[in-house]
């Protein structure tokens, strides 16, 4: 085989960089193998197991167990609540960090990444130490009649902590690149703060915001570690879907466990598809992400 060191620009795509054939095959092959073994096979296997006894059995596994039904509902309320909180927080944080220069700004920017760096279990433990009955605020909360740990507020706190950076991290670089000029122009034209937000800022960041929200939601639904610590694992009360999967598995109820797992996976796939479609769609639109103005 004749290998030229570049220069032949003959459109034979695979040969352009001049790497030998065996190396290309090795790299491509191992990429496909690793993806297959680590991602595709387990995901497919979840569905194979879930539907092993047919769709009817799958459906009854999901609907006939009251605790499982409750877990689905709990996840579908805790995750959106956490996403809502993080959307508001993310907007506020991105606005503050990109539109103002103040002392401690870099520190705040670094702290924003902490939930990504810290183990979720540690996050759950922190919530336990603060809000638990032995914790700092425990006695006071007990007096006020509010239960945080081993109840939905605890699940909400844990989920919110773990997914905190998603929206803000998506918005900060976007708003930085957009700059403040359009907002200043709107202000000088007489726009009030709400008009400014709804008419100028939000339309400019809507796709980035939506993308952040989708990612945040995917992560919020699947959160296990932090939630496990604060949930207390009370069936029918504080078990979210991931916790339910584990519990059913521990109880040797494999069909039930796989059924719930398959629903979680379906939700994740739907989220991914939405994010993917969104990215493709916005990339084809000329204006929203253009930096030219």
């Amino acid at each position: 085989m004749h290998v030229s060191g570049g220069g032949t620009n003959s459109g034979r795509g695979l040969r352009v960089n001049g790497d030998p054939l065996w190396l290309r095959l090795l790299l491509i092959g191992s990429a496909i193998t690793i993806t297959g073994v680590l991602i595709v096979i387990p995901v497919v296997y979840v569905f194979v197991q879930a539907f092993a006894d047919g769709p009817g059995a799958w459906w009854s596994q999901l609907t006939e167990d009251a605790d499982t039904r409750h877990a689905v509902l709990l996840t579908l309320s805790v995750a959106p609540a956490a996403v809502l909180a993080n959307t508001i927080f993310g907007l506020a944080a991105a606005w503050t960090l990109t539109r103002f220069r103040f002392r401690g700004r870099l520190l705040l920017l670094t702290l924003l990444d902490l939930p990504f760096a810290v183990s979720p279990v540690v996050a759950g433990l922190c919530i336990l130490l603060i809000y638990g009955s032995q914790g700092w605020l425990g006695p006071w909360l007990k007096q006020a009649g509010v239960q945080v740990v081993f109840a939905s507020p605890g699940l909400f706190l844990a989920t919110t902590f773990v997914t905190l950076p998603f929206v803000a991290r998506e918005l900060i670089p976007l708003m930085e690149s957009l700059g403040a000029d359009e907002e200043l122009a709107a202000v000088s034209l007489g726009a009030g703060p709400w008009q400014l937000f709804w008419r100028v800022t939000l339309p400019n960041i809507r796709w980035g915001l939506l993308f952040g929200v989708i990612q945040c939601h995917a992560r919020a639904m699947g959160e296990f570690g932090a939630v496990k610590v604060v949930s207390g694992g009370i069936s029918g009360q504080t078990d979210t879907m991931p916790l339910r999967v584990e519990k059913l598995f521990q109880e040797y109820n494999n069909p039930g466990s796989y059924a719930v797992a398959s629903v979680l996976t379906l939700m994740a796939l739907a989220t991914l598809t939405a994010a993917w479609a969104l990215e493709h769609w916005t990339n084809r639109r000329p204006t929203p992400s253009g930096k030219e103005l």
């Binding site: 200043l184 000088s188 204006t287």
Partner: protein, 353 residues
Amino acid sequence: MSITIAGVSRRFGNFQALSGVNLQVPAGSLTALLGPSGSGKTTLLRIIAGLESADSGQVLFDDRDVTQLAARERGVGFVFQHYALFRHMTVAENIAFGLRVRKSPAADVNQRVQELLRLVRLEGLGQRLPTELSGGQRQRVALARALAVRPQMLLLDEPFGALDARVRQELRGWLRRLHQEMHVTTVFVTHDQEEAFEMADQVVVMNQGRIEQTGSPQQVFDHPATSFVMDFLGNVNVFHGRVTAGQLEAGPIRMAWSGYTQDEPRNATAYVRPHELEIDRHAEATALQATILQATPAGSLLRVRLLAEGYGVELNVDVVRERADQLQLRPGEQVFVRPKTARVFMPEPEYVI
């Protein structure tokens, strides 16, 4: 509406952007804030608009103190260097923005938008998005948007800085005519002296957060108040020398200068514009001998670049065409250069204890 700036200072961290600036902008005038980057001109403009706050000092519109007034209540039209058009809105929606946030009736808004599209000569482009327009068109949309709300003054931050030379020239003339028709008090920032002198009836030269000189273009050009102004106005020949008893000496050059009449010699710098130097073929005791490096025709002038070897000074001389034809100057030739007039600045003496 006139603008008064009284003792305005602004600091960004360790950088003093403005220090104690005082300025009067007469009602209906077209004023240029001229200076190099970092001179504080944009900061001053933003403080007038209320987009930036002053650390100290006051801003008055006529007799009204607006220092504490929010930008949206100042009734100021602001035009940004990079247009800052709302990218998700059409041209018409951009122009209508200021009226819509004030809840003007829809019919009035549409009528005003059409009026402004005509004014900025963009009829028929109302439904385009900003990305579908050229730079010059975008800047005209930005102007229309600022004018739509009938502002009491128009502030422009390097309005033509991002445009190419031909479009810039065209827009300058257009803005000048627009100002003559509307007589709205206008302040614009520029680092281009040509732009300032061509358009403004008052030029404010700024440097390091201070105003160096304020006056008509003619005043500033003919009577620069400081050596910075002289230098900044550009393309000037600088001679370092000494003054004694009313006489300036710089190399062989001797000139009378009444600004300093004492006997003790002092350092001084003479600034001479290219058209104020004379080229001659005959030697003279008070002329500088120089070699022609280059002679370039430029309209009615011949731009000559010379090197005075004896002093290591490069000179720029503008010779009018008739005189140039007489002299027949060629690169490499030896000639004699003499100033007809000069502006002399003496640095503050440094006292040694």
